[in-house]
């Protein structure tokens, strides 16, 4: 395994689709789905990717490409060009100002830096994740065979561990610690906590202003013109459900316009800035706001006031939204209360995303169907990825005694 830590990055390219070309593009993307997925599997540095067409805040159709990749952007462009170069030309050929073969330059010009970006398993490259999966599979295979042969019963934990280590060495599977380049020691957490008094002060001021001015205005507006949230019997929702749960992982795309005015934009910017700080400084190992099922997630704010959310998560939509409501409603409300038709909110953080039915209806209303969604490991949850990494890491230990061996064996 390579020595310097690998870091993952987000690429978000959002480009305007030429007038009248939207239907063609959607058809092409849907028709290319299977072929593009198999070609993307050849990109060795790509965790997740998607192509999705949606209307921005002013109703203009856009094509978005999202990727989560290892290493530097130049290498990523080269890999994409090599594996799906002609697809990129065909897709972005429906966009304004695109000329074939220029994806790198075009993407650079149309790249949007996320306001908040979360990585659950930082420093674990795609090859590393797949390698860790092979290590675990080799261990499981050996244990199953040894168990069937009845040889395990007479062995001490240490003897089992050493035999397993020997088997891994025989399989030429490298084990041990890999430097993931994660924040070390308490400093990054302390840095976040040091910000908290200021964050709370600014947040409280915003909350009071919102409660006095903006939230009552929203409630009046909602009373006059009720939000047009889609029913679960809506055909659009049927199409979303049809594309979900085809494998253990799913990709959510959510596109909603901010409410007008600088106050809402300021609150959203502030909320996203804080989530970004938390993601970088505290929530870098497996869970964001108590939710342990998100691999990568990002919020991007477009110049016209469109707030775009991409996430790659484990399990069903119902369980994901349940987690939002049960565990992360406070910060999700702080972010999304600034957008159109969001459920009634108090002081920017209360009610909102904790109101189950309205929040789910609102989420579905602004959810968009991914035409193409790719995962390099659609059968591995965040927990699986991190547990396998831990198994590979501890496998590097000397197994000096039963205690150490048991610590490792208990993970299997």
């Amino acid at each position: 395994m390579p020595a310097p830590p690998i870091s993952q990055h987000a690429l978000t390219v959002i480009a305007s689709v030429r007038a009248g070309a939207e239907d063609d593009l959607v058809k092409l993307l849907d028709a290319s789905n299977v072929a593009v997925l198999s070609r993307l599997a050849q990109v060795t540095t790509l965790h997740f990717a998607r192509f999705v067409v949606f209307d921005d805040a002013v109703g203009k159709p856009c094509l978005a490409f999202e990727s989560n990749y290892d290493g530097d952007i130049a290498g990523h462009f080269a890999e994409l060009q090599r594996c799906i170069g002609s697809d990129l030309d065909a897709f972005f050929g429906h966009c304004e100002e695109y000329s074939p073969g220029s994806f790198g330059a075009f993407a650079t010009a149309h790249a949007i830096v996320p306001r908040a970006y979360y990585i659950a398993h930082g420093g674990l490259s795609v090859p590393q994740i797949l390698h860790d999966g092979r290590v675990r599979a080799a261990i499981q295979g050996w244990l199953d065979a040894a168990d069937a042969a009845g040889t395990l019963r007479a062995m001490s934990p240490r003897a089992i561990a050493l035999a397993l280590k020997a088997h891994l060495a025989e399989c030429k599977l490298e084990v041990g610690v890999v430097d993931r380049g994660l924040p070390r020691g308490p400093w990054s957490k302390t840095a976040l906590y040091a910000m908290m008094p200021g964050v709370l002060l600014v947040g409280a001021a915003m909350a009071v202003i919102a409660r006095l001015v903006y939230e009552p205005a929203d409630e009046r507006e909602d009373a006059e013109a009720p939000p047009q949230l889609v029913s679960d019997q809506d055909p659009a929702e049927d199409a979303l459900e049809d594309a979900e749960d085809l494998q253990p992982l799913n990709g959510l795309t959510h596109v909603v316009p901010l409410k007008p005015g600088t106050f809402r934009r300021a609150v959203a910017t502030f909320a996203l800035w804080f989530v970004e700080q938390a993601a970088r400084k505290v929530c870098y190992e497996g869970a964001l706001g108590g939710i342990a099922t998100i691999h990568f997630a990002r919020w991007s704010l477009l110049a016209d006031g469109t707030l775009v959310f991409f996430s790659n998560y484990d399990g069903s939509w119902e369980s994901y939204l349940g987690d939002f409501i049960d565990k992360a409603h406070t910060f999700l409300t702080l972010i999304w209360t600034n957008t159109k038709w969001f459920p009634k909110t108090s002081f920017l953080v209360f009610e909102g995303a904790s109101s189950e039915t309205p929040f789910k209806r609102w989420t579905r209303t602004f959810q968009r169907r991914n035409q193409i969604w790719y995962s390099a490991y659609a059968d591995l949850t965040v927990t699986n990825v991190l547990d396998s990494a831990k198994i590979r890491e501890l496998a590097g230990g000397p197994m000096a005694d039963d205690e150490e061996a048991l610590r490792w064996l208990s993970l299997l």
Partner: protein
């Protein structure tokens, strides 16, 4: 299609307000165990036929007696009644009373689509094309009549009466099941079942010790639910059709007793001095998470305990963090994870409280006599469970439990195994991991222990809604 924003329904949703039990069909609160003889009739009704409306009017009228018994909230009155009749409808069944898609627009889509819909089948891990009833290509199920009696003779008479009435109204029985209340409430694998039931706050039934209290809106439409919101109660033609109603999930699950005990005996490993029979029971208990008598493994890891037959006050987080007593894939963890979910026991209890189901099922088919070792031989009899779950949201309760906990290969940090009892061997290698020291043991190549034979999603209206439905012509 757009719907108005969700709003609390007047009357029913008041926090702390009592449940209008006199408007609720009895099986919602009671299992009717004093009426051990039960028949479930699935009817196809004559659509928009005056006889159908008349038939329902008769049923609604005859239910008034039960309703009075209910108002007394008196255990004796209820149990002395000779019979109980309960009724529920599929979406197509509501259509037989003239309610079109417009009228059903406020009903949840999973109910409107039905259990045999391809999307629902994917969520549930079902293969409806292989069912014996409720298949998409069969005559639609419109209504489910649940008939309960104190004696076998009375049930026969009750069933005959209702079949005659249904046929006179142009209806047909498309499927029927006979349900039993088994001795000590054991299901056919031999385990005491139905122990962990939630209790509805403000309901008429007395709370049993250890039952977690759940707000009434988790069971009945129009009341405050576990999110502090009023559960949506669908209106039709301006009438509050949902009020005091609930949804019913009916699933007939054949249990392959010989496959189960055969697999268990094949894989049982007696400890020193332990008989093969005892080792088999110990292994079987780890599939379930409870001993045959009901005692939970997390509290009684070594042997069954009669004193704990109804034990429902325990968690997993502190008692068994590594799954060495009760494996992570065991049935009782998956159907009710209690305090074991991330990120903390406290948050886990809140989460599980939002996905509870209310079970009113019974067994079907001939019971087996001990010893269990004889159960390895297939006697060819069809036996299993008539799984009946009630709840205010099929999607958030039954489907969620089935999809996220029971059939998920990823439950509780696992990689690739479904529920130990209900998992299907669609993949060549169905596994079940027994966590333990020095290292886990994986049971591999497990056969199916259970096969779903059919089912339906139904709506069980309140009494007033029943009367209203009968007069929509």
């Amino acid at each position: 299609m757009a719907v108005a924003p969700v709003s609390a329904r007047a009357g029913g949703g008041g926090a702390g307000g009592g449940v209008d039990a006199s408007d609720v069909q009895g099986v919602v609160f009671y299992a009717y165990t004093e009426h051990p003889y039960a028949r479930y009739l699935f009817l196809n009704l004559a659509k928009d036929d005056p006889r159908t409306f008349l038939w329902l009017r008769e049923i609604a009228h005859s239910r008034q007696g039960a309703r009075r018994a209910h108002e007394a909230a008196d255990h004796l009155v209820r149990s002395k009644a000779q019979e109980h009749v309960q009724i529920a409808f599929t979406a197509a069944g509501l259509g037989a009373f003239g309610l079109g898609p417009q009228d059903l627009a406020e009903f949840p889509s999973e109910f409107v689509d039905g259990m045999n819909d391809p999307q629902r089948a994917r969520v549930l891990g079902d293969s409806p094309a292989e069912w014996t009833f409720g298949r998409p290509d069969q005559d639609e199920i419109h209504a489910l009549l649940m008939l309960f009696a104190r004696t076998e003779e009375h049930l026969a008479e009750l069933v005959a009466r209702h079949k005659t009435a249904a046929m006179a109204a142009g209806g047909r029985v498309v499927h029927e099941d006979e349900g039993h209340v088994s001795a000590d409430h054991h299901e056919h694998f031999g385990f005491r079942d139905g122990i962990a039931q939630p209790h509805i706050d403000h309901g008429p039934r007395r709370r049993r010790s250890g039952e977690p209290v759940i707000p009434p809106g988790e069971l009945l439409l129009g009341y405050t639910n576990a999110y502090g919101e009023a559960t949506i109660s669908p209106t039709a033609r301006g009438f509050d059709l949902g009020a005091n109603g609930t949804f019913v999930v009916y699933r007939k699950m054949r249990q392959h007793v010989a496959a189960f005990w055969g697999a268990v005996y094949d894989r049982a490993r007696p400890r020193t001095g332990e008989s093969l029979d005892d080792a088999a029971v110990r292994l079987a208990a780890s599939f379930v998470g409870r001993w045959p008598g009901g005692a939970p493994l997390v509290l009684h890891p070594d042997h069954d305990a009669a004193s704990a037959a109804n034990e429902n006050v325990f968690g997993f987080a502190k008692e068994d963090p590594h799954g060495s007593r009760c494996p992570f894939g065991a049935h009782i963890r998956r159907t009710n994870p209690r305090d074991m979910l991330a990120p903390s026991p406290k948050e886990s209890l809140v989460e599980t409280g939002r996905h509870r189901i209310f079970r009113r099922g019974r067994t079907y088919g001939p019971a087996l006599a001990l010893p269990r070792s004889a159960w390895r031989v297939d006697d060819g009899a069809d036996r299993g469970l008539l799984f009946i779950a009630l709840g205010a949201s099929i999607r958030r309760q039954f489907e969620f439990v089935q999809q996220t906990w029971v059939t998920s290969l990823k439950f509780a940090r696992l990689y690739d195994e479904p529920d130990a009892l209900l998992g299907r061997s669609t993949d060549a290698d169905r596994r079940f991991t027994l966590q333990g020291e020095p290292v886990r043991r994986c049971l591999v190549a497990l056969p199916d222990f259970v096969t779903v034979l059919g089912g339906a999603y139904l709506f069980m209206p309140g009494m007033r809604a029943l009367a209203w439905l009968a007069t929509q012509r």
